[in-house]
């Protein structure tokens, strides 16, 4: 243990603690911008500088290890003045667009500027001007607002392992960017949106679809239906003052009705269908002898990851579409037929914790109904934005029920939103089909603390090895060990985002928590909300959900039938990591 003095207060901390963390233990909040504990500490922004007695210059407290007897001042007039100057320097190369900026009021730069009471710029000069990359369907990159904190580099490299960003160029015009400061579209990006959730400013954000949805809602000719993903009902609550992870399914449904959606459905229903199809495919593979493992396919970012980084494994991906797309195609076929609607006059909106789904709905094969199956996707954040615009406060609304039939889900469909959920939901069905008895709660062994989990299940005469990877980085390590022949699986679930969709790239941003692990534990709370919901459900297995059974009876026949195949399955292909022709050319 080490004892040091910070602002005349003594504090004792463990060896290796940074001065910044030591100060936090004293309740002194040193400002930060680039730092994100346990993920990113490049010591680049310099707003966390402090004065250490006996040292000639300031030090960045986020990377300065506390030493015995150190005497630190965090708030001398010199330090305060220097911080203000640094913030002014940032502003001197930043567009003044707060009024119209998506991150206004939850922008870390803006908050710091307010906190330090910057009123006037003493220094101005030429500003960088880069071209904004809005070519991709999911992520918009506006480099002019980038503060070069490098958090996106870290999350994309360490967690997602897509290695999209780096510093390019040097000096004043250096910028954190994909190769050639080009578009995400021409690079190895998988549109997971994790970089958005760590970006302190609005340099990274999702492509805004709210206007499109408002217009559709206002169009009297259109029948607009909405599907909501499992993971948003426990995260949207945070934006309306509920404790983290509170499930607010009923109020959310009520709010959607008031926004003007003709029907409010639950993606979890489609997730149940997904389970039916995927378990059928799995049983098929068991019969055929492979190829194993079967990878889940409900995360479009993961699919893209596999297509780009492991093209040799695309046949291992389950061919079943994601719940969003299953819902879309069923809405424009089965539901349209039942209700006597013209599918060309339908508009299907999905609300997801995900920015990747914006890309997914444009993938080839996603017009199986004869029309684009899903017309627009909103992230949780965009949904909240619409509620603000409409003046709807979830807290003040009475709970309401989803519409049927596409709104009744089993517990299996609900836990789709959490990492391990897809696996468990599918196994509940597979296990029962193989062994004839119900699966108790699936117990997964933690492997390498949080990286991935695995289990061996005895179902009838079969011994099934399964694993769940949290994040594509974990998946990469798992696959590499698999390819080296060190490990073997039959069924592997991969979700790109930390903790699965609860931690998706479209979820509310924790701009107040500069601690990656804490953010992850927040995300975990969102999933425990989902498991609570699962326990409350009458039906907890997809193949017991009467609405699902009805659908097969009335429409699809049986899982894996030709019609099911035509509508609910799609193909995946190997892809290039980088396009040879640049799509976006910076001047």
């Amino acid at each position: 243990m080490i004892t040091l003095t910070i602002d005349k207060q003594q504090v004792t901390v463990e060896k290796g603690t940074s001065v910044l963390e030591a100060a936090r233990q004293l309740g002194i909040d040193i400002p930060t911008l680039c730092y994100l504990k346990d993920l990113n500490a490049p010591a680049a922004c310099r707003v966390c500088i402090v004065q250490v007695e006996g040292r000639p210059t300031f030090d960045a407290s986020c990377v300065l290890p506390a030493e015995e007897g150190m005497v630190v001042y965090t708030n001398t007039p010199e330090v305060l003045a220097a911080r203000k100057q640094i913030l002014e320097l940032f502003l001197s190369d930043h567009p003044f667009e707060c009024l119209t900026c998506e991150r206004s009021l939850n922008c870390e730069l803006q908050r710091l500027v307010k906190r330090y009471g910057i009123r006037d710029l003493h220094i101005e000069g030429e500003r960088n001007h880069f071209i904004t990359d809005d070519l991709s369907p999911s992520v918009v990159r506006e480099p002019d607002k980038c503060v070069r904190c490098r958090r996106c580099i870290s999350v994309c490299e360490n967690y997602i392992t897509a290695f999209v960003y780096r510093m390019v160029e040097r000096s004043f015009q250096s910028i954190v960017a994909p190769a050639y400061n080009g578009s995400l579209m021409e690079n190895s990006c998988i549109y997971c949106g994790q970089c958005i959730t760590v970006c302190p400013t609005s340099a990274l954000r999702e492509k805004d679809s709210t206007a499109e949805v408002w217009e559709a809602l206002a169009n009297p000719d259109l029948h607009v239906v909405v599907q909501t993903a499992p993971a948003i009902r426990s995260s949207i609550s945070e934006e309306f003052g509920f404790p983290v992870g509170s499930p607010v399914e009923g109020q959310m449904v009520a709010a959607l009705r008031r926004l003007g959606f003709a029907r409010v459905f639950d993606v979890c229903f489609a997730a149940d269908i997904c389970v039916m199809e995927e378990s059928t495919e799995f049983l098929e593979r068991l019969k055929e002898g492979g190829p194993f493992p079967q990878f889940t396919s409900c995360c479009p970012s993961w699919i893209l990851f596999c297509e780009k980084f492991y093209p040799q494994l695309v046949d291992n991906l389950s061919a079943v579409k994601s719940p969003q797309q299953i819902f879309g195609v069923l809405a424009k076929t089965y539901y349209a037929k039942q209700e006597g609607l013209d599918p060309s006059k339908m508009f299907v909106v999905s609300i997801m914790p995900c920015v990747s789904k914006k890309y997914e709905l444009l993938r080839p094969g996603m017009s199986a109904s004869g029309f684009q199956d899903v017309d627009a996707e909103l992230t949780t954040r965009e949904f909240v934005q619409m509620l603000y615009q409409a003046g709807l406060d979830i807290k003040k609304l009475p709970p309401e029920e989803f519409d049927s039939p596409l709104g009744s889900a089993s517990g299996a469909g609900i836990i789709f939103g959490s990492s391990g959920g897809v696996m468990e939901a599918t196994l509940r069905t597979v296990y029962e089909k193989l062994s004839g008895e119900p699966l108790k709660r699936l117990e997964l062994d933690e492997v390498r603390s949080q990286e991935y989990k695995k289990a061996t299940i005895h179902a009838g005469e079969h011994e099934l090895k399964v694993a769940v990877a949290r994040g594509t980085g974990a998946a990469r390590r798992l696959i590499d060990r698999m390819l080296e022949g060190e490990e073997e699986y039959h069924f592997v679930e991969v979700m790109a985002c930390p903790g699965g969709c609860v931690g998706g790239g479209g979820q509310p941003i924790y701009f107040e928590t500069n601690d990656w692990n804490e953010q992850i534990s927040h995300r975990a709370k969102r999933s425990s909300g989902l498991y609570d919901l699962d326990r409350q459900k009458e039906y907890r297995k997809a193949h017991e959900n009467p609405a699902v059974l009805q659908l097969y009876k009335d429409f699809l026949g049986e899982p894996g039938s030709p019609l099911a195949y035509k509508l609910l399955h799609s193909r995946n292909f190997p892809r290039k990591l980088y396009s040879e022709q640049p799509l976006l050319i910076q001047k």
């Binding site: 490049p42 010591a43 680049a44 922004c45 310099r46 707003v47 500088i49 210059t57 300031f58 960045a60 990377v63 300065l64 290890p65 220097a82 100057q85 640094i86 320097l89 940032f90 001197s92 190369d93 003493h122 220094i123 000069g125 030429e126 070069r148 780096r166 510093m167 160029e169 040097r170 000096s171 004043f172 015009q173 250096s174």
Partner: protein, 621 residues
């Protein structure tokens, strides 16, 4: 040269037989840039013509030091130096001197101050005042291993490996008082000790040959002229800290240095100074050259490490220091070329011998690269504590073309300027620091009255801005803003407030940046502001550049006191910019019309026309 000396020499030349002679020709890069290789070829051709190529050897050395005399050669045993040679001179050198025994006086150097002819290195004030420890071999031997061996080469290594423990080597270096020559001046012994004390099976030593400071070329000359001394120093460092692998990081702009080092490494391997079980001892060590790719910041230790690892040279925060966590995360010692070249002599002759030279806190000698507006540019090695005056005037021969000394920039873009008041300051780490500069790696650029110090500050600021890696805010944006203010001042738009802005910014960058580049980048601005504030004010208030460098502020104007109203200028002016002021009997220039042609100034019989851009077109001085 007095006539008695000259007669003696003539006699000696006459008495020496041709076949006793050999010729040493400078093949340093500055001389190469003046076509010395063509001279060499011509000399060899001449020898061949007379069938003497077997008897009189022509050897190529590294930089002799006095590059301003290049291309030059020395004829031994008399030691006669012929300078400023052209291929045409080859014939007379061979026929007259080598074969005929006649001294060629017109090829001798004439000292600009005493106006005496000088025929030997030892006679030239340029060399007389130096004390060459590090450079003792440079320009004297050819860079191959045999010459090095016959000059006590690798004797220190042999001694260390057979007689001294690593701790004893470190102790010797510590006691010598040697401090890093790369700029920081950190005690070398202490650095080695720290690396030795850090636990770890794998350790590294790196020779920092990046020499990114524009205007400095000491390290290049050592690497080219005496590569084995650098290798020996590095091997000794490795032995002392327990490293098994080393790197020499050389900037790409030095291809000859790379080539020479590569050859030297090959030779050293062959002779078992590198590789497994060096000199049959337990100790094994090998080396690899890493060539930079053009980034000044890579001279900074942490950036150098990322660059050696094959990546972008982004600096990282310290601690952890390289001696704790360096290349590939292992303890790493990084030393400058000149630091390492000092090591063999220290180990061989002992700490006490080394500590005899220099000042109390700065021991030994320092090599300076003398360049800019000074007569004799080149490499100068002097004891620490030598004054600037001795270097510029006694060794460098003063400022050419009768101009006045104005300032000397030490430490390049990280350093500051010294002015007339510092001429008698003893140059060492601490005295320079006290006046806001640094000794740096040894670049010494002399400026005369034609240099505008605001423009010099702008130049360095621009350099630092370009070389900033862009990682941290104060350096990335701050340097750009500082440059913008300086450009504003230079273009005549400056306000007095700008000086305060500049200073605030400079201090922020200095105090809050991540690495040494940012922390020292404001030095040139701060130091010129400190010593030449009046020049800044002239730019800002009078809108005038006293040195006549800044184009916008170098307008021609007529000094009313001098003007006799002869009207000549008005007649000459091609754009009719000059008019007579009514009732005042003086002429005046309309700055709106004037196109800066300068004709009026040249013609005014009373020298009444001032201003104008004085910096001459490239003259090669």
């Amino acid at each position: 040269m007095t006539s008695r000396l000259r007669d003696e020499l003539k006699e000696k030349v006459a008495q020496t037989k041709p076949e006793e002679r050999h010729i040493l020709l400078c093949g340093g890069v500055p001389c190469r840039s003046l076509r010395c290789l063509e001279v060499k070829e011509a000399v060899s051709d001449e020898l061949h013509k007379h069938n003497f190529e077997e008897k009189v050897k022509v050897l190529e050395t590294g930089c002799i030091g006095n590059c301003k005399l290049g291309p030059s050669l020395i004829i031994f045993p008399e030691g006669v130096v012929y300078r400023r040679l052209k291929t045409e001179n080859a014939r007379e050198i061979i026929e007259e001197h080598v074969l005929g025994g006649r001294l060629l006086e017109h090829l001798l150097h004439r000292d600009s101050i005493s106006d005496e002819l000088q025929h030997r290195r030892e006679d030239m004030p340029f060399f007389q005042r130096q004390r060459r420890l590090v450079l003792k071999n440079c320009g004297m031997i050819s860079p191959g291993i045999n010459s090095y061996l016959s000059n006590q080469g690798y004797a220190a290594l042999a001694k260390a490996l057979t007689e001294l423990t690593p701790e004893e080597v470190i102790a010797e270096v510590s006691r010598s008082g040697l401090r890093g020559r790369g700029g920081g001046g950190f005690p070398t012994g202490r650095k080695w000790q720290a690396a030795r004390d850090t636990p770890g099976a794998e350790k590294y030593v790196i020779c920092n040959g990046d020499e990114g400071d524009p205007g400095a070329f000491m390290d290049r000359s050592i690497m080219e002229g005496d590569p084995h001394s650098v290798l020996e120093g590095l091997i000794l460092a490795a032995y002392a800290v327990g490293a098994g692998q080393g790197y020499i990081y050389v900037r790409a702009e030095y291809p000859l240095a790379v080539q020479r080092l590569e050859r030297a490494i090959g030779e050293a391997r062959k002779s078992h100074f590198l590789g497994d079980n060096i000199l049959e001892q337990e100790f094994s060590f090998d080396l690899e050259i890493r060539v930079g790719a053009g980034a000044f910041v890579c001279g900074e230790e942490t950036a150098l490490i990322t660059s050696v690892e094959g990546s972008r040279g982004d600096p990282n925060p310290r601690p952890p220091f390289p001696v704790q966590k360096g290349v590939w995360g292992c303890p790493t010692v990084i030393n400058n070329v000149e630091t390492l070249a000092n090591i063999p002599a220290i180990v061989l002759n002992g700490a006490a011998w080394f500590a005899e030279t220099g000042t109390e806190k700065s021991k030994g000698t320092k090599v300076f690269a003398l360049a800019g507006k000074v007569r004799h540019t080149g490499l100068v090695e002097v004891p620490m504590g030598t004054t600037l005056r001795e270097i510029i005037f006694d060794i460098g021969g003063g400022i050419p073309a009768g101009k006045k000394f104005k300032a000397a920039q030490t430490g390049g873009p990280s350093g500051g300027c010294l002015t007339e008041e510092h001429l008698d300051l003893p140059l060492d780490y601490d005295s320079l620091k006290a006046v806001g500069s640094i000794i740096g790696s040894g670049g010494l650029i002399i400026m005369d009255e034609d240099s505008c110090m605001v423009d010099v500050a702008r130049y360095f600021c621009d350099f630092n801005r370009q070389e900033s890696c862009g990682k941290c805010t104060p350096c990335r944006i701050g340097n750009k803003r500082m440059l913008e203010i300086l450009e504003k001042i230079i273009s005549g738009q400056g306000e007095e407030k700008d000086l305060q802005r500049l200073e605030d910014l400079a201090l922020l960058i200095k105090n809050a940046s991540l690495c040494g580049l940012g922390r020292s980048a404001p030095n040139p601005v701060l130091s010129t502001m400190r010593h030449f504030r009046d020049e800044y004010l002239a730019h800002i208030k009078d809108k005038h550049c006293p040195a006549g460098v800044c184009p916008e502020l170098s307008r021609y104007y007529i000094d009313a006191k001098e003007c006799r109203a002869c009207g000549l200028c008005a007649r000459i002016c091609p754009v009719e910019a000059i008019y007579e002021v009514e009732n005042e009997r003086v002429y005046r220039i309309d700055p709106e019309k004037c196109v800066d042609c300068g004709q009026c100034q040249e013609e005014c019989p009373f020298e009444a026309i001032e201003g104008g851009r004085k910096r001459k077109k490239v003259a090669g001085v």
